[in-house]
Symmetry: C2
Subunit: 398 residues, 2 copies
């Protein structure tokens, strides 16, 4: 068995300034990615023509288009992880790590992009989400006729189930957003920097009961790119490497979570993130546990899913996620700071890519809300569409 632990590292990241919905429609997907890749390569001390591999998840961009755009000599690796949204995001880093560690490619870029040019819109009914066809097949055919047409509606049922089973409250949901806003307050790049209260949260529009507007991340036009290379090459890059201690994707049988319309899973999973198994893989492969982490990036598309992710990655016991977030445990003074950049909820919704950026910044010691001495960073992919994912980055490879 080959041990992939710390054999690859993140050596650069780049992105275009976060835009509001439709802001980059004219610029388009390819141009956004090209600018992000160029910025990431500059950060890594290489040129885009050095990139010989591309890895992503749920992207509209073909690697050959990208590598042609940069005049690279040879495209040597491509992969895309399955899964919707940002659930499988860490799988893109897993594939990139495998590729550079085995010499399939020298520098692999993980990229992700979204503009509203393509007709696909988050938060709208699935029949309008870019499929361009009037009929709905696959598992959605069984849920859409009953009103489960959009992610918000699906996650609402999981949120309600958690409330029913564990007494979780919408006040606790509010605390997740309040924390994100507090972290973003001094982040000049964050889109939502105004602090809010529980009352502000409760006054925001009800979208899919019990989820209000402030329980949703915001739609963002963005382009993001991250450069991964082998541990050997990483040591020659300008910034301290963020080694990939582990990266995994996973989904348990009868995984359903908020997408419970697809599957008929046991009750206990109904209110989970579906991430317990992948959490175990992430810790096992890294030979580290949650107690070894200095800071955590938790995918926060919907506030209740932060609560379930925290439970399933071991921050607190099952059912105690609500009190955990309301008691201030996410803050910089808490036992394990979460999303010091403001996350999807307050900085920008980039399907998890900026969670990786912030993880790298924390390891480099250059974050705005720097956790002193941060070395080991947990990154949690989105709870929701199957499969989900996670990874651990570290500044100390031994």
């Amino acid at each position: 068995m080959i041990d992939l632990r710390n054999q690859a590292a993140v050596v650069g990241f780049g992105y275009v300034p976060f835009g509001k919905r439709g802001q980059y429609a004219e610029k388009g997907h390819l141009r956004l990615v090209v600018e992000a890749v160029a910025a990431a390569c500059a950060d890594a001390g290489i040129t885009p023509a050095d990139v010989d591999g591309y890895s992503s998840y749920y992207t509209p961009i073909d690697p050959p288009e990208l590598f042609e755009a940069f005049g690279a000599k040879q495209l040597r690796y491509t992969a895309q992880t399955w899964g919707g949204g940002g659930s499988s995001m860490c799988g893109a880093f897993q594939n990139a790590a495998m590729a550079v560690a085995t010499g399939a490619a020298d520098y692999v870029v993980v990229h992700k992009v979204m503009t509203m040019e393509a007709g696909a819109r988050y938060g709208q009914a699935f029949g309008q989400m870019g499929q361009g066809v009037p009929s709905i097949g696959g598992p959605f055919q069984y849920s859409v006729p009953y009103g489960l047409q959009a992610p918000g509606q699906m996650f609402a049922l999981a949120a309600r189930r958690h409330m029913h089973l564990y007494g979780t409250t919408t006040e606790q949901f509010a605390h997740v957003t309040m924390h994100a806003r507090a972290m973003a307050a001094n982040n000049p790049e964050a889109r939502f920097r105004t602090p809010i209260t529980v009352e502000d949260h409760h006054a925001s529009q009800m979208i899919a009961d019990p989820l209000r507007l402030f329980d949703f991340c915001m739609e963002t036009d963005y382009g993001c790119a991250v450069v991964i290379t082998s541990a050997e090459r990483a040591r020659d890059c300008p910034h301290p490497p963020a080694y990939i201690a582990s990266a995994a994707v996973g989904a348990p049988f009868r995984y359903g979570n908020a997408l419970m319309s697809f599957y008929n899973q046991p009750d206990e999973d109904f209110a989970s993130s579906g991430q317990r198994a992948v959490a175990g893989e992430v810790y096992r492969m890294a030979r580290m546990g949650l107690a070894d982490m200095d800071v955590a990036m938790v995918y926060d598309h919907f506030t209740p899913m932060v609560i379930t992710s925290l439970e399933d990655f071991g921050f607190c016991a099952k059912g105690e996620g609500g009190p955990y977030v309301a008691d201030g445990n996410l803050g910089l003074d808490g036992p394990l700071p979460v999303n010091p950049h403001g996350g999807n909820l307050a900085e920008a919704y980039t399907h998890g890519m900026t969670h990786v950026n912030e993880a790298v910044r924390q390891i480099r010691g250059t974050a705005i809300n720097q956790v002193p001495g941060a070395t080991n960073v947990l990154v949690v992919g989105g709870a929701g569409p199957s499969p989900t994912s996670g990874m651990i980055l570290t500044g100390s490879p031994e």
Copy 2:
């Protein structure tokens, strides 16, 4: 650097009986894949619930659907290689090999399926190829208005270029199909077993000058699956393992080939398969050359692309592919037998999956047209859409 060579192996394959166009429309993609996976697992001596990873290329099937169908405990790996058709097919095996060799998963299935149920049709204009939208974006917007709407039209220009530069003839194209039919004559599963002559070839309908009907592979409804596991586990499987000595994807800069409508590449590439670079990677990673091969599986969607693939993988010098195929070098008595099962042109068009099946059979010694003592088998992915791919399987891992 981690050496992936011979760290993973193909231990089983399975498929549904090859169908004609639309034969499995009612059965549907998921059911076809499920049956193929079940057959592949039986061949590998495992149960489908043991499969914890899925890898593919250009597939309509989501891994979570598959693993749910089998009641697997945990999905631990998913990846899809970019690229259209079967060009990148060996990349799916590369990803599978990386996953099992690094312990990300125990058993990864590479699957591929096609029925005509989905509206997507090979050989029809791109505007009708399943996109479901009336507009055409990306690189196709520059070629479709000029009549390059379907693969046959695009490959026709590359074929004509090869004829112009090297004096290649349509008689030589015919010999590629004649060889395939000859090989398929005693293959009871082959769809086209009737031998043909040059006259038969020339009498077949002209589709996209200079390509006639008998220069095209046939549309096939199919479901195929292959099981990959680690070298350690492979030794416990019922059949001799086919170790993955190397697997690579690649595309050179300004790769255009038959899809020359996309890019403006140098003249010498215009008539190539675009595979010279990936051929070098495949041989380098395996630490073997063409002279070490005992039999070769060459993707044969269009007869002229077999000629260019042979040239670029070193079977003959550039421009000499036409005489090479016409002189009988592909046969069982030739220097390196090619596609003893009949290939895409005569057995079934499965986007390259049956080339892998036959490679495994040759290594096991169970092929109908068995090459005596076959140990090392070259597999060449499709010339055409970027990136392309190749791999070497071996029965002798040292």
